[in-house]
Symmetry: C2
Subunit: 310 residues, 2 copies
C-alpha cells in the first residue's frame, strides 16, 4: 500500500533513498534547509530512474516527480508521514535536533530509521520523546542500487520495531540483516574497514601500488564477494568436507596471515602516497564517468544476482 515517507536530509543518501521509495509507489517528502536541495533531488531521481526501471517491474517511463516534495522544515516533511528515513549530518547534536522537530509532527508509533554510518541507535534515541520507535537502518551507497540495509536496535528500541522495519525494507526488495550489538561500523563497515586497513598497509609497506591493490580486488576476490560472502566461499574451498574441512586444515594458514597483517597510521606522508597512487590509477578518467559506469554495472550485477540460488 502506498505510504507517505519523510526523508530528513536531501543529500546524496536522502536523494537515493527517495528515488527508491518513489519506485515502489510511495510518496516522498524531503526536508532540507538548503534551498538547492529541491533541484538536486529532482535531478538525482531523474538520473536514477532508468536504472530503477531496469531493476523493477512495471515502472512508468518517467519518474513520478509529482509524488516528490521538498520542504525546508522537518515538521512539514513529517506531517502525515507513516515512515521516516533520517539522512542528516552524522553528528549527534544535529540528530537530536532533527528528531526533536520530527516528533512534534509525527504520530507516536511512526518509525524513525536513521541512515547513520557512525552513530549508535542508543545515542540517537537518548533525548527522544518516543525512543522506542527509533532504530538504525544503514544502507550502502547508493541505496537505490545496493540492496543491503543493516538494522540495529538501541537499548530503548521497541522489540517490534526491527521486524516492522524488516517488513518495510523487504517490500522494497532490500536485503536486511540484523546487527545484534551496537559497535563502531555496525557490521558491513567493520568488514570494509578490515579490508581497507590492509589495503592501506600494503601500500605503506611497499608490497604493491595503489593501482595493483585495486586491480587485485576488482579482478580477483572482489568478483567472488560480489556473489557470496567469505564464510560460504571458504565452505566451497573445503571441497567435499565443506567448511569444517577448510577450518581444520586451512584455518592455521589464515591465523598465520592474520598475525602478519599491518596496523598502519594515516600520517600526512601516507595520505600523500595514497593520493598520488590513486592519481596514477585513474589517470585522465573523471569522477562522473567512473560513477556512471559503476552505476550501470551495479544495475547489471543486481540483475544477474536475482537468479542465484544462494
Amino acid at each position: 500500500m502506498p505510504q507517505h515517507i519523510a526523508v530528513l536530509g536531501g543529500g546524496l543518501i536522502g536523494a537515493s533513498w527517495s528515488a527508491l521509495f518513489l519506485a515502489y509507489g510511495h510518496s516522498v517528502h524531503i526536508s532540507d534547509p538548503d534551498g538547492s536541495a529541491d533541484a538536486f533531488c529532482r535531478g538525482f531521481v531523474r538520473r536514477a530512474w532508468p536504472h530503477l526501471r531496469d531493476l523493477t517491474q512495471g515502472l512508468p517511463d518517467h519518474p513520478p516527480l509529482d509524488r516528490l516534495r521538498v520542504s525546508s522544515t522537518i515538521a512539514a516533511a513529517c506531517d502525515g508521514a507513516s515512515f521516516v528515513q533520517e539522512c542528516g549530518p552524522d553528528r549527534i547534536g544535529p540528530k537530536h535536533a532533527m528528531i526533536k522537530e520530527a516528533e512534534t509532527a509525527l504520530a507516536p508509533h511512526v518509525l524513525i530509521a536513521s541512515s547513520t554510518s557512525s552513530l549508535m541507535a542508543t545515542d540517537i534515541q537518548a533525548q527522544a520523546q518516543h525512543p522506542d520507535r527509533i532504530l538504525v537502518a544503514h544502507p550502502m551507497n547508493p541505496p537505490h542500487l545496493v540492496p543491503l540495509v543493516e538494522l540495529v536496535a538501541g537499548r530503548l528500541t521497541s522489540p517490534d520495531a526491527i521486524p516492522q522495519a524488516e517488513a518495510f525494507y523487504t517490500s522494497l526488495n532490500r536485503v536486511t540483516i540484523r546487527v545484534q550489538k551496537e559497535r563502531p561500523g555496525h557490521l558491513a563497515n567493520r568488514l570494509t574497514s578490515a579490508l581497507y586497513q590492509e589495503a592501506v598497509n600494503i601500500v605503506a609497506e611497499g608490497i604493491a601500488s595503489v593501482e595493483d591493490v585495486d586491480r587485485a580486488i576488482a579482478y580477483g576476490p572482489g568478483m567472488r564477494w560480489g556473489l557470496m560472502g567469505p564464510h560460504l566461499i571458504y565452505h566451497l574451498g573445503g571441497g567435499a568436507g565443506g567448511y569444517r574441512q577448510y577450518l581444520e586444515h586451512l584455518g592455521p594458514t589464515q591465523q598465520t596471515r592474520w598475525a602478519d597483517l599491518g596496523r598502519p597510521t594515516l600520517t600526512d606522508d601516507l595520505i600523500e602516497q595514497l593520493v598520488l597512487g590513486l592519481e596514477q590509477e585513474i589517470k585522465e578518467l573523471d569522477t562522473q564517468e567512473i560513477e556512471d559506469a559503476r552505476d550501470r554495472a551495479l544495475v547489471a550485477l543486481a540483475k544477474l544476482k536475482q537468479g542465484l540460488p544462494f
Copy 2:
C-alpha cells in the same frame, strides 16, 4: 603463437589453468602421479568449455581435447615445453622434488611459474639448477574464470622473468599485478584474510550470524568490490575533493574502526559455531549447485566488466 605448456599437478587448479591454456590455442601436457587425473582433467575441461566459449571470441564448439595430454611423470610433461605452470602440493619438499625433475627435461630459459598460495618464490627456487627462471604466479580459484594473477619474484629470479610472465598471462586476458615483497598471502590473500578475520570475529562476538555476514558482503560492499578496489571506492566517497578529501575527513573514522577490529582465535568451539552457522545459511543447497551457479555468475560478471572504463 601456440605454445606447448606443461602443467605440473592435475588437481582443481591445474585442470582450470589447463582449460584456460587450451582456450587460447596452446597445447597442454599435465603431469600427475594419480591415475585418475586424466579423467578428472578431461571432465573439468569439458564442463569449463561452455564458459570459456562465452568469454573468449572464436572458440570451437567442442573442447580441443586432442591438444591435452596427461602423463604420470613430470619429465614427460616438460619435454619440449616452453612454459611450466606448477600446481603441485603446497609444501616446500614436494615443490623442490617437482622442480628437480622438471629441470632434467626443460631448456634452461623456460619459465617455471608456481601457483603456490602460501610459499615464497625464494624458498621454491632455493635448490634449483636455474633458479632465475622460477617465479610465483598465483591465481584465484577458479583461474579460468577469475582473471587475477599475482606475480612475485624470488631473490634469484631473473629481472626479465616478471615482464616475460606478464606478457604471457596478459596474452590470456589475465589481469596481472606485481607483488614487490615476498610476504605471507602475497597480496590478494592478505586482503581476503583481513576481511575474513573480522568476518570470524563478528560471529565470535555475537554481533551477527554467519548468514548475515555473508549476506552483508554479497548484497553490500561485495557488489562494489566486484567492480572496483577500496582505494577507488573511497576516492568516489570523497565527492568533489576526491581521495584526499576522504582521507582527511573520514580517515579518522577508519582509524576508530581499525582500533575496534577483533583478533579471534579459531578454537574448536568457534569452529563448531562457524560450521553450524554455515549449515543454517545453506540449508538444503548442495555444493555442486552453488558452484555451478557461481561459475555462471562469474562468467556473466567477467563479461559485464569488459565494458568498464576503470
